[in-house]
């Protein structure tokens, strides 16, 4: 209680400095958490798309049922296949017709027999990224009876690269902000220390331990960190509610079936933890320097 009272007194004594410090923390953590929200949603989108992607291998015309079954077995023997579905020429025609259901006129006079039979192959997740997918397609193309392969991996790779870059960017920006914030907090605490310089000197003379002297400042740093983090999350939620959700149609168009979501609880906890550790780091930076002097 004593420590809390002292910390409270110091915060009141340096109310403006504390306010500015908290403001800067709010702003910096807000930038960081905006990155987080974008990443969380891009990741979600990627996982969704990955599930949709399949390798379509078109078959040579005129294969016998036996040959098709044999081919299916050999594809299943390849590494990375999650599921396989045979689409016969008749199925393909049916699908095509269903697709153009409203505009049957287009199909009139067309010989739908030209549509080839195919296998729709779903790959295991780990085969979408990295080399696995390419190797699979290479092996698949070597199989007899397959004429053409359609594989939508390229743009998944591109998306994954973007997400990857963003993730790196987030850590780089995060790291710079982390250093900057701990520097700011350390300076605020330093001002607090100087405003109590005399008192600390006397504390040391009458036998106060370093811990006893430090705790109120740690509480001050903790207060700055946690209130900065909470306010920044609150602001982010406000932005999310008022801006992102209201611009729904646009977001919906770009995200497809995915709903744009706020940070998961784990990330919220993470941001608060980052705030708290910033507070501690900032205060211990200036305290260690001061007490060793």
């Amino acid at each position: 209680m004593d420590f809390l009272r002292k910390a409270y007194r110091d915060i009141r004594r340096n109310i403006w400095i504390n306010g500015v410090s908290i403001g800067i923390i709010v702003f910096s953590l807000l930038i960081f958490s905006i990155f987080l929200v974008v990443l969380v949603n891009l990741n979600k989108l990627m996982v969704h798309w990955e599930g949709k992607i399949q390798v379509i291998s078109y078959l040579q015309d005129g294969l016998s049922t036996h040959e098709v079954e044999d081919l299916e077995r050999r594809i299943l023997d390849l590494k990375g296949v999650k599921s396989i579905k045979y689409v016969s020429k008749a199925d393909a025609t049916l699908l095509f017709k269903r697709f153009f259901g409203n505009q049957k006129g287009i199909l009139e006079g067309l010989d739908l027999d030209i549509l080839p039979a195919s296998f729709e192959i779903q790959l295991k997740k780990e085969f979408y990224r990295g080399r696995g997918g390419n190797e699979f397609v290479k092996k698949l193309s070597q199989l007899k009876g397959i004429t053409d392969i359609q594989y939508g991996r390229e743009w998944i790779t591109r998306l994954s690269t973007i997400v990857h870059l963003l993730r790196w960017g987030q850590w780089i920006v995060g790291g710079i902000l982390f250093l900057a914030i701990s520097f700011i907090i350390s300076n605020t605490i330093k001002l607090s220390i100087y405003s109590r310089k005399e008192e600390i000197e006397i504390m040391r003379l009458v036998g106060a331990t370093d811990g006893y002297i430090k705790i109120p400042f740690f509480i001050e740093g903790f207060f700055q960190g946690i209130s900065g983090a909470t306010l920044s999350l609150g602001l982010l939620f406000f932005l999310y509610q008022s801006f992102l959700l209201k611009s729904g149609p646009f977001i919906k168009a770009s995200l497809g079936p995915i709903t744009f979501s706020f940070l998961p609880w784990s990330s919220i906890g993470g941001v608060i933890l980052v705030g708290i550790s910033l507070g501690f780091l900032g205060s211990s930076l200036s305290l260690t320097r001061f007490l060793r002097a």
């Binding site: 004593d2 006397i202 040391r204 003379l205 009458v206 370093d210 006893y212």
Partner: protein, 235 residues
């Protein structure tokens, strides 16, 4: 109680503050540490109080070798050594009571025990009726009494005073030294650094004279012949 064995203190820039000091202060002794400004009086007190560590030599306080003490142990040692300064070092925004109680608070004493001990110490220095005053409303002598009360509230066996009467007029100076004398009669070991030679002459106490960081003489009250000699040659 306090022993120095060939202690030297050299500050950066090769400033020799103390040079090969060997000294013994027994339990219950009252010592005047004299010498001109820059002789090393303050440095010697700082060494006892662990604000500085010796460059060479060993210092024992209460049988503990403080030249090798761990940083974390220093606060506990300081609770056994009260210290007062010329400029009192009182906190201006705390009352007399709070200034004295402050030294108990940092050791974790609270509540009734804190009040009881603070009152008792304030009564001892004759300031109980002024306990709710702010320090700046008190006279210099009274402020120094508050500082002494703060130094004593933890019942330390040793009291160090660095020019405690430097800012006080002669009458009040005697008042303060008499107070210390009474404390000494109660068993507290006291070391007073002062360049006030009149003061040293008035009391028959052990005198350690420092000049340029060296002890030029140590004189005991039980050897009055030497004291006369000191008066003639140093004071």
């Amino acid at each position: 109680m306090i022993q120095f064995y060939h202690v030297s203190k050299i500050y950066s820039g090769n400033i020799h503050a103390l040079d090969d000091i060997t000294l013994q202060v027994n339990r219950g002794e009252f010592v005047f540490l004299t010498g001109p400004s820059g002789a090393g009086k303050t440095t010697l007190l700082k060494l006892i109080h662990c604000e500085e560590s010796p460059t060479q030599g060993e210092i024992l306080v209460n049988g503990i070798n403080i030249s090798r003490i761990k940083h974390s142990q220093i606060p506990y040692l300081r609770r056994n050594i009260g210290i007062v300064f010329q400029d009192f070092k009182l906190l201006k925004d705390l009352t007399v009571f709070q200034n004295v109680a402050f030294a108990l608070e940092v050791t974790g004493i609270r509540g009734k025990e804190l009040k009881r001990r603070t009152w008792k110490t304030l009564r001892m220095v004759g300031l109980l009726e002024k306990m709710d005053e702010m320090p700046l409303k008190l006279s210099g002598g009274e402020q120094q009494r508050v500082a002494i009360a703060r130094a004593l509230v933890n019942n330390p066996p040793i009291l160090l005073a660095d020019e405690p009467t430097g800012n006080l007029d002669p009458e009040i100076t005697l008042d303060i030294i008499n107070l210390m004398n009474n404390l000494n009669a109660g068993g507290t070991t006291i070391i007073v650094a002062t360049h006030n030679t009149d003061l040293v002459r008035k009391y028959s106490k052990m005198v350690v004279k420092l000049v340029k960081g060296r002890t030029v003489d140590q004189l005991h009250p039980e050897r009055p012949a030497l004291r006369t000699e000191v008066k003639a040659s140093f004071l």
